[in-house]
């Protein structure tokens, strides 16, 4: 009996040690290859890291599903909006001609773009689904300039790892890794279903990220920052979502 329990104890101890050591090595490797999300601390860090890392390794640069024109939702659902500020209303009254997006951080040329400038770049369109974490969804044609094109114009420095993007609503800002930022379907979208992007759907400018849930597709974009460290922003969890209790990575 004592022999058996001693053997069990030794085997158990060895397994536990190997497990902890293995976990340590795995964490190192994951950090090196950018597989650890900024909200990895806390109770749910293990699950979040597993989800983010496995999806990054498994999914890589695959394209979000695109749909046929006939599958476009008859009425693209405008979700509840943050209260629009006076500044927004003034810009809206002027037809958004003064709307500007500044791009700064780890870029060669800090720049500021008007909507007209963005529209002068080669545009792309995608018929993709917008799905909310609540469970509802709709399909629309999104028209805009790929974010990668804008990033190429300003020149991203090699040490850059994330793009942080801000809404005119100060409580809504998000960030994505460079894999998502350079993804061909990540748009600065200014049009929907053949016309200007309605304010209810994020007009005049929305960052469209079809491989993640709707809350990562921030509405009313005014500012982009390229960075190598998310700790400097807000509470250091990567974006506003984890500060409100939601996951930073929303691919699932």
């Amino acid at each position: 009996m004592t022999d058996l329990s001693r053997r069990k104890l030794i085997i158990g101890g060895l397994a536990a040690t190997a497990g902890v050591a293995g976990l340590g090595v795995a964490t190192r490797i994951a950090q090196k290859y950018g597989l650890v999300p900024p909200d990895h601390g806390g109770l749910y860090g293990v699950g979040e890291t597993l989800t983010y890392a496995s999806q990054r390794l498994l999914i890589r640069h695959s394209l979000a599903r695109e749909f046929s024109r006939s599958q476009i939702s008859k009425r693209p659902f405008p979700n509840e909006m943050p209260p629009l500020t006076d500044a927004f209303k003034r810009l809206q009254a002027a037809g958004f001609t003064d709307w500007r997006v500044t791009v700064d951080g780890m870029v060669d040329h800090r720049s500021s773009f008007s909507l007209a400038q963005l529209k002068s770049y080669p545009y792309r369109s995608q018929i993709t689904q917008l799905a909310c974490e609540e469970g509802w969804s709709y399909i629309a044609e999104w028209i805009g300039v790929p974010l990668s094109h804008v990033l190429d114009v300003v020149g991203v420095q090699p040490q850059a790892r994330y793009v942080v993007y801000f809404s005119i609503d100060p409580d809504w800002w998000e960030s994505i890794d460079m894999a998502d930022a350079m993804h061909p379907q990540t748009f600065l979208a200014y049009g929907m279903n053949g016309s200007d992007l309605p304010v209810g759907n994020g007009g005049p400018l929305r960052l469209r990220l079809p491989r993640q849930l709707g809350y990562k597709s921030v509405k009313f974009i005014t500012h982009l920052t390229v960075t190598d460290n998310l700790k400097k922003f807000g509470a250091g969890l990567g974006s506003a979502a984890p500060e409100g209790g939601y996951a930073w990575y929303a691919g699932i």
């Binding site: 749910y44 699950g47 979040e48 989800t51 999806q55 491989r211 996951a247 699932i252």
Partner: protein
């Protein structure tokens, strides 16, 4: 009622009533360590997934079929419950607090643990003989006569016989196999089919289910089936003798009473 006493009487509860019967109790191995550990981890995960899943559902208690669905489209059905968002017209005059943040974190973490545990269980069961010995139906049990007896006993809430208490009967085997090889894979599949990133790499995951909203609806119903299984499972444990069944799943050993004589008489008497 004899059945009420069963919670206190070790299984099989053939308490001899005639003086001629002699009973001996022994603790005999019932469940392996691996079965017990994976059983309780899965139990924990199930309740974490159930609670967090319910919290996620109440943020939009409407279900659809096809690729898309929202409050502007016709639902397949709507659950008659209040919602945690003001988007959905529920008929209730209040909105529940939003719990989606931690619910989603917990849901995926518990899903990871459940998947790893399930894999460990399935791989181990294939090698240990657990699958063949305890879960795959015996040829003899599949005969019509045997099937109907098992089903009839089940419907009459008959206590398991001595040999049945040692192993799983046909209905148990089939329901465990169904949960392990049909419901669990289906709930994981339909869950993954809702992941925008996952289906970008593996689009068939969602198209085979008829679309993202169909996957969500399927996920909901499979979860209900799993809940139904757990409820029946727990009821059966109470009927079969709660203490001894729990003892077996915690310590690995069940107390068995062997009666030398008068068994059938006692058994009959108890059922009356």
């Amino acid at each position: 009622m004899a059945r009420m006493e069963s919670a206190h009487v070790p299984l099989p509860a053939c308490v001899p009533t005639s003086a001629s019967a002699v009973a001996t109790t022994t603790a005999t191995p019932r469940h392996s360590t691996l079965v017990r550990v994976t059983h309780w981890i899965t139990t924990l995960c199930f309740f974490a997934l159930l609670i967090s899943g319910f919290e996620i559902v109440i943020s939009h208690p409407r279900f659809y079929w096809g690729e898309t669905g929202n409050v502007l489209t016709q639902p397949l059905f709507q659950l008659p419950i209040p919602s945690s968002r003001n988007l959905v017209q529920t008929g209730y005059g209040y909105v529940l607090p939003d719990q989606n943040g931690w619910s989603r974190y917990l849901h995926f973490q518990a899903a990871w643990v459940a998947v790893f545990t399930g894999l460990l269980y399935v791989i181990a069961m294939a090698f240990s003989g657990h699958l063949r010995k305890d879960l795959l139906p015996h040829k003899a049990d599949l005969s019509w006569r045997s099937c109907s007896t098992t089903i009839a006993n089940h419907l009459r809430f008959a206590r398991p016989s001595e040999e049945e208490a040692w192993s799983y009967n046909l209905l148990q085997r089939l329901s465990y196999l169904f949960v392990i090889f049909v419901l669990f894979p289906l709930v994981i599949w339909s869950g993954l089919a809702m992941s925008l990133a996952f289906v970008s790499a593996f689009p068939l995951t969602v198209t085979l289910l008829g679309g993202e909203q169909s996957a969500r609806t399927i996920h909901f119903f499979v979860s209900l089936f799993l809940l139904l299984f757990v409820l029946v499972h727990v009821v059966m444990i109470f009927l079969a003798g709660f203490r001894n069944r729990m003892r077996a799943m915690i310590t690995g050993r069940a107390i068995t009473t062997q009666t030398i004589t008068g068994e059938s008489a006692a058994y009959k008497e108890e059922r009356i």
